[in-house]
Amino acid sequence: MSIIATHALTKRYGDKDAVHELNLEIEPGEVFGFLGPNGAGKTTTIRLLLGLVQPTSGSAEIFGLDTKKHSVEIHKRLAYVPGESSLWGALTGRQTLDLLGALHGYVDTDYRQDLIKRFQLDPIKKVRAYSKGNRQKLLLIAGLSSRSEVLLLDEPTSGLDPLMQEVFRSAVFEAKKRGQTVFLSSHTLSEVEVLCDRVALLRTGELIETGTLDQMRHLSALTYQITFGTEPVDLSGVENVKRILVEGRRVTCEVAGKPTALLTLLAGVDVVKVVSHEPSLEEMFLSHYGN
């Protein structure tokens, strides 16, 4: 049974759907990446899952419980880390961690202490004296140390330096090892590529693709880099070839589908080198949203 599921989940603001008939199924223990450009509806989806906003139609379930009706029950077993959030400036880091832990009801204090060390956070400072990155560390430590069954992470590494991003990744791996489910909305594609078992791509509130990275790569276009010995030939109009970029004698293009037509054409001209590779997540992202 899915630990998180949405059924034709829709949220409308005015005459625009922020989320439109979204269907998701996330399995227990999975690290699920949730991608999309700004305004795609990622944060709205997370707020719907948390019960902070209510669906216009459709429904969402976590642990098999309706998020609209059973938010308190769900919140007992879930932790949320927002990407951008106001924290009470008058409290110290320690007081904030105590408060968030007390509100949640459970904290693994040893693990919290360990995370404080790993994230190099000074908890006796007042929150208003923290940088953006340090505030984010505070939220991450609070969320991760709750050891919740489900972690909802919305842009969790925004403001963190690469070293701290590495600490975050290791913490997510630990969570996965413990069987926790992670729902990760992120713009850091390298992070998603490393951490996530499956990925969903969202555009203007609609799910456009979901699957493992391998599945998505298989469905996506391959990238070809062709170096010609003479002037490059014109590849526009060749079957399945798109997004052509010419730089001197080097041509980069994508091939969605069978490359037969391209290879037949190249066989008859002076070609020095052909390199083909599966698209990175970044290339897939650009391919989906580039236009």
């Binding site: 707020r47 948390l50 902070l52 906003v53 209510q54 308190v72 029950e73 919140h75 007992k76 879930l78 949320y80 927002p82 951008e84 959030s85 106001s86 924290l87 009470w88 400036g89 008058a90 409290l91 110290t92 320690r94 007081q95 904030t96 105590d98 408060l99 968030l100 007390a102 509100l103 949640h104 009801g105 000074d122 006796i124 400072k125 007042k126 208003r128 004296a129």
Partner: protein, 534 residues
């Protein structure tokens, strides 16, 4: 448009509504003083008796300023307004300055501003210019209304009226510059406001001591509020040049200092650095301790403020009651209002005034709740396994408890003040009179929470408008003999004048029940709506 002009315009836009409202308030209080005095003291003999009662009372002079020419409309109007209005406008000006400068810096918005093609010096100057322009709006609105009052009533000349309007608002310019300066000294908006508040408090104290002891009246010259007393607008209208020179000179000096400090310090830094670490801070273990920690300074401020105010009024109550009692007009009105203890008449009026303050505190609590939601703070609580009802109830509980505590402080303050001046107010009557204020405050709090429940963005404006309307009805209702249906719309109109009249506990229970029902409705509506950020 030049960046500095954009900043100035932005500052004015943010404040124009309050600026206009303060101008209106000043004009209306003046108008109601003129016509209220005529209605309450229709005969010259009443006026002479009033003048005789007040003229030699040091306590009253300390609180309200010297009672000059109370046998004239102009004298009474000056007496009623000069002690209070400049204080109210100065408090607003000071808070507005600290919010516009240190508050913006604290929030990080100032950083964005400074990254535009403008220096820190010019940005500070542009903001201060906007603050002064907002006060100019207040001055113009007040001057217009006072001019109309002068033309209609013929009790004072237009020129006197214009000088009067300028003195009422003038010191606020100076306290704006004080707030601007403390914004450079302190590291947080709250601290800057506290420092500026201290300056205002000392100014008030110096003015009060000088007014209470004519032998040391030279102390007036050490206080901007004392300069107003010395210039005696409406009655003697003197030292015009000196008043303007002092106010303007001090304002320019402090503004110059502020601008210079702002350009010579790092962004976010302050002359007095903040203690940013706290090794042994209180443990915050839940919503109740969180709300209490966040609100305790604010609640303590209100409690001390109400205690001091009612204490000060308690000191002068005896003399003031005698003076009120000298008016046949007032006596008739008070008998109609069911007042049984004429000896506590003054306290009845004062507790009615304090109720407006308590209602303001109640609306502020609802506004603070909305702010927590709008800024995203509330999300941290709502994503925890706590029902929305419980999350809200703890916050509402802290607010309701604080309203009760503030009201009791007011009662105790009045008792102590009265006891020290050989008054007759008993402890029980004083505390009950304080508690008698709570139902009205809970009612407006309930209305604000109900609005917060279904239209969060309107909660503050509806609460404040309702309070302003109620205050206005009380202020001008009886003077203008308005229809009782209109008067009934005031949330203050149903209150008894405790301790001069016995509180009607049955009616109070009903009002509290309505308040609680409205809170219940607000919570229900909040449970069924989306949270709204921004």
């Amino acid at each position: 448009m030049a960046t500095s002009r954009v900043i100035t315009t932005h500052v004015i836009k943010q404040r124009r509504k309050v600026s206009v409202a303060l101008g209106w308030m000043t004009g209306i209080v003046t108008f109601s003083s003129v016509y209220g005095y005529r209605a309450a003291y229709p005969h010259y003999v009443d006026r002479l008796r009033l003048s005789a009662s007040f003229s030699h009372d040091a306590g009253i002079a300390a609180v309200f300023g010297p009672a000059r020419a109370l046998d004239t409309v102009a004298g009474f109007t000056a007496f009623r307004t000069l002690g209070v209005i400049p204080l109210i406008v100065a408090i607003w000006a000071m808070l507005s300055a600290t919010r516009g400068l240190r508050g913006e810096e604290e929030s990080g918005r100032w950083e964005i501003l400074i990254s535009a093609p403008i220096t820190k010096r010019r940005a500070t100057l542009a903001t201060i210019r906007g603050l002064y322009a907002s006060l100019m709006i207040t001055t113009v609105v007040a001057a217009l209304l006072i001019t109309v009052t002068s033309l209609v009533s013929h009790d004072f000349s237009v020129t006197s009226g214009l000088f009067f309007a300028t003195t009422l608002i003038g010191s606020a310019f100076l306290f704006t510059s004080v707030g601007a300066l403390t914004s450079q000294i302190a590291s947080t908006r709250r601290l800057a406001a506290t420092q500026a508040g201290l300056v205002l408090g000392v100014s008030f104290l110096l003015r009060a001591i000088a007014d209470a002891s004519p032998d040391i009246s030279w102390l007036h010259w050490l206080s901007p509020l004392g300069w107003i007393t010395e210039s005696a607008p409406l009655t003697h209208t003197r030292w015009l040049g000196l008043f303007f020179s002092l106010t303007l000179g001090a304002t320019i000096l402090l503004t110059g200092l502020t601008v210079s400090l702002s350009s010579n310090r790092d962004l976010g830094a302050s002359l007095v650095p903040e203690r940013i670490t706290e090794r042994n801070g209180t443990r915050i273990t839940g919503t109740l301790s969180l709300w209490f920690k966040l609100q305790r300074a604010n609640i303590a401020g209100w409690m001390v403020g109400f205690f001091l105010m009612s204490f000060a009024f308690g000191l002068v109550a005896h003399g003031a009651t005698t003076a009120f009692g000298s008016s046949s007009g007032f006596q008739k009105t008070f008998v109609n209002l069911g007042i049984s203890k004429m000896s506590e008449l003054f306290f009845g009026v004062i507790f009615m005034m304090l109720t407006s303050g308590l209602m303001f505190a109640a609306v502020s609590h609802a506004s603070a709740l909305r702010e927590q939601e709008a800024e995203g703070y509330l999300d941290h609580i709502l994503v925890a396994p706590i029902s929305r009802t419980r999350a809200l109830l703890t916050r509402i509980g802290v607010s309701a408890g604080s309203l009760l505590a503030i009201s009791i402080c007011a009662g105790i303050g009045a008792f102590v003040g009265s006891s020290l001046s050989n008054g007759t107010l008993s402890f029980k009557d004083a505390v009950l009179a304080g508690i008698n204020m709570v139902p009205s405050a809970l009612l407006i709090f309930g209305i604000s929470i109900a609005v917060f429940g279904f239209a969060p963005r309107a909660a503050t404006i509806i609460g404040q408008s309702l309070l302003a309307w109620s205050f206005l009805m009380e202020l001008i209702g009886s003077s203008l003999k308005l229809n009782h249906w209109l008067l009934d719309t005031s949330l203050l109109h149903h209150m008894t004048f405790a301790p001069a009249a016995d509180p009607r506990w049955g009616q109070n229970t009903l009002v509290v029940t309505i308040g609680i029902a409205l809170i219940g409705f607000g919570i229900f509506a909040f449970n069924h709506r989306d949270t709204e950020i921004g």
